[in-house]
């Protein structure tokens, strides 16, 4: 690597973490932060145990339970025996290997990708991994953050490194200003609609442009979160004053003089002028309307003003068959207006949209309105701290008065590993990130959209254009 070549944000973070480059170009990459949860770690700890290995850096590791946990009163314990076994297995493992752990009953418990940034564990310029594909979320801070498999979890636990080859650089620049009622979720859905679910494969995506700069940290995390849905393992946004203001004062963040030192380094990270990207995509935020998916892949996205596409218009036979299969599964017909699609359930939460800003956006729509008859609407804060904050602001009362359920923190209906699931055939407006067949429960049908759009769907009983609904900002 030559220091004179203009480098991207990704290049800089990568270069500063290479321990050694092996003859074939594979790098031993040092990992600063390793986040662990109950679903993808049991076999990794078991592997360590069988090989007689230790956790190399417990002080760079943190564990939490999120995927399996009930979102009702947790003092009652976990009824489902297999879920309970996974949680107990993690508790046993963190005790045996000395790994810091956020217990289920702690106010700091929550979805791993919400609590990492919220606690100041995820920091700019670092390498962050977790046995979970949505680790891309943490790239919003200007970190290189990506999901890994369980064998790699074991590799990081044992060595604090990973064997990796550098990714290619891709720039997604979103210029201009978002219209009213449009959000970070709409930006990222529009990007995925544009480049496709394999559009970023092999790349790290850097998001830039005026519309990205204008986003708060919650919005930036929403965008980076869904990067994996575009096929890229990591998304990154250059750290700036918005980032530093967010990090300052977080429980595990550096303090005082150490913070100043850190900021001095973080300021050197943004891509150099003239840095070269392997691929560039440019969009204008002004063209982005509120988005909603119609199919069972996140790339099957249309503006809420649009209609279900017609497979007959698709020239490629394999794609046509796939579209038809999606329409059959989703029980939609070609040409049907998205705003005519009625729903049975609403899920507001997940690591994509379970932050306080998301709950404020939902409450702004819910205030003074009521969930439509026959619709079950659920709000699941992303963490205990988000829940506390929301309750301090009275959002829980606004939402429950409007007929929403108010839950404890966890992954919940994002993937239905806990009791929160769709019944077969139920249709859900969801702020989560995946609309795959059966993702929210076997036979369940998912439409991805923003928190404001989800709340609008809840009160209307069908997919609706939030821009036609008056709302109050909850500043």
């Amino acid at each position: 690597m030559s220091e004179s070549r203009p480098r991207t944000l990704f290049d800089k973070v990568w270069d500063s973490h290479v321990v050694e480059t092996l003859p074939d170009g594979t790098c031993i990459l040092y990992i600063d932060r390793h986040l662990v949860h109950e679903v993808t770690s049991p076999q990794a700890f078991e592997g360590l145990r069988m090989a007689g290995r230790k956790v190399r850096r417990p002080d760079a590791t943190i564990a939490v339970v999120d995927h399996n946990v009930p979102t009702t009163d947790r003092r009652l314990g976990i009824a489902e025996p297999e879920s309970r076994l996974q949680v107990e297995t993690l508790e046993h493992n963190v005790a045996e290997f000395g790994v810091p752990y956020v217990p289920l009953l702690s106010a700091r418990q929550g979805i791993v990708h919400i609590i990492g940034p919220e606690l100041g564990i995820s920091l700019p310029g670092g390498t962050i991994v977790c046995g979970d594909s949505h680790t891309s979320t943490h790239g919003a801070l200007g970190a290189l953050a990506f999901g890994i498999g369980t064998s790699e979890v074991e590799h990081v636990l044992a060595t604090q490194t990973l064997l990796q080859k550098p990714a290619k650089n891709m720039l997604v620049r979103v210029d201009g200003t978002l219209g009213a009622g449009c959000t970070a979720k709409d930006i990222v859905l529009a990007i995925i609609g544009r480049i496709g679910t394999a559009g970023g494969t092999g790349h790290v995506i850097e998001y830039a442009g005026a519309a990205i700069r204008a986003l708060d940290m919650a919005g930036r995390m929403t965008v980076c979160n869904m990067t994996i849905e575009a096929g890229a393992r990591a998304g990154m946004i250059a750290p700036d004053d918005t980032t530093f203001a967010y990090v300052r004062g977080k429980p595990y963040a550096p303090k005082d003089a150490a913070f100043a030192q850190a900021v001095a380094w973080w300021r050197t990270l943004p891509s150099d002028p003239g840095a070269v990207y392997d691929r560039t995509v440019v969009m204008d935020a002004a063209d982005i309307a509120p988005q909603v998916t119609w199919g069972t892949s996140p790339e099957t996205v249309v503006p809420i003003t649009g209609a279900v596409p017609d497979p007959a218009a698709e020239p490629d036979a394999a794609r046509r068959a796939q579209m038809q299969r999606m329409l059959d599964y989703m029980a939609l017909s070609p040409g049907q207006r998205m705003q005519d699609v009625t729903i049975d359930a609403v899920f507001i939460g997940s690591c994509t949209n379970g932050r306080i800003e998301d709950l404020r956006a939902a409450a702004a729509i819910a205030r003074g309105r009521h969930v439509a008859p026959g619709v079950r609407a659920m709000v699941v804060p992303g963490s205990g701290l988000v829940k506390q904050q929301a309750e301090a602001e009275g959002l829980d009362r606004i939402l429950t008065q409007a007929g929403f359920e108010w839950r404890e923190a966890g992954c919940s209906m994002c993937l239905g590993m806990n009791p929160d699931k769709l019944a077969p055939g139920q249709r859900c407006a969801s702020t989560s990130n995946r609309n795959f067949e059966g993702r929210q429960g076997p036979g369940g049908r998912t439409h991805l959209l923003s928190p404001a759009m989800a709340a609008a769907a809840a009160v209307a009983g069908r997919l609706s254009d939030v821009r036609e609904m008056a709302w109050r900002e909850m500043a």
Binding site: G149, S151, F436
Partner: protein, 209 residues
């Protein structure tokens, strides 16, 4: 720990779908295990069984000879979605040692190698051709030769494929990544010591901050 992969001659199952996501390979409700084994019966669960748990006759792995398939041929973006290593574990537990597709999602691709499964990338037209071979059933076996980096069709035609040399080496030898990396432990120590001075501001994570 990992089985070597050298040469495999086996029945190949055609799965003519693109974007086969990991939820499809193994739905989330089966991730509650704390073991790596036993997931094969749930491989492709929703495609394979109906709501009553009965086998769907039309699904390829429910018919002979594909119940014994060790190779899978599919289309673009195989293994997209979640990082769950349960996906390769389920394939392996069923008996699949090789997946052939035009391209793979990154995490799934790397998870395969860690479990002794060989993902082979070949252009769409070639996959379509192999898919036709696979449709011929038990008499039409494919051979995947990792040492020579070729797929041999039933008619004897050899199709070369590319693969990362480091990954190929580990698969051929059945080597464990961690053992490999730990041979470089001194360099990791050195890196850590240097970073501890240069970035002394980076806090340690403790049970309570």
């Amino acid at each position: 720990m990992m089985d070597k992969f050298t040469t495999l001659t086996a029945v190949a199952a055609p799965l003519p779908l693109a974007n086969v996501d990991t939820d499809k390979i193994i739905p989330a409700r089966f991730l509650k295990t704390i073991k790596r084994t036993g997931l094969g019966v749930h491989l492709f669960d929703t495609l394979r069984y109906d709501a009553d748990g009965k086998e769907r006759a039309e699904f390829v792995l429910n018919s002979e000879p594909y119940r014994h398939a060790e190779i899978l041929v599919a289309f673009e973006n195989f293994g997209c979605g979640s990082s769950r290593e349960h996906a390769p574990w389920a394939l392996l537990d069923f008996g699949i040692r090789c997946v052939i597709a035009p391209d793979f999602a990154d995490i799934f691709h790397s998870n395969c190698f860690k479990n002794g499964i060989l993902p082979v990338r070949l252009p769409h037209e070639v996959c379509a051709m192999l898919m036709d071979d696979a449709r011929m059933g038990g008499n039409a076996r494919l051979t995947v030769d990792l040492a020579r980096q070729v797929v041999v069709r039933p008619n004897g035609e050899e199709i070369p494929f590319e693969i990362d040399p480091f990954r190929r080496h580990l698969l051929l030898e059945g080597l464990d990544d961690i053992g490999q990396t730990l041979q470089h432990a001194q360099n990791i120590d050195g890196y850590e010591a240097r970073r501890a001075t240069e970035q002394s501001w980076l806090p340690a994570i403790t049970a309570q901050a």
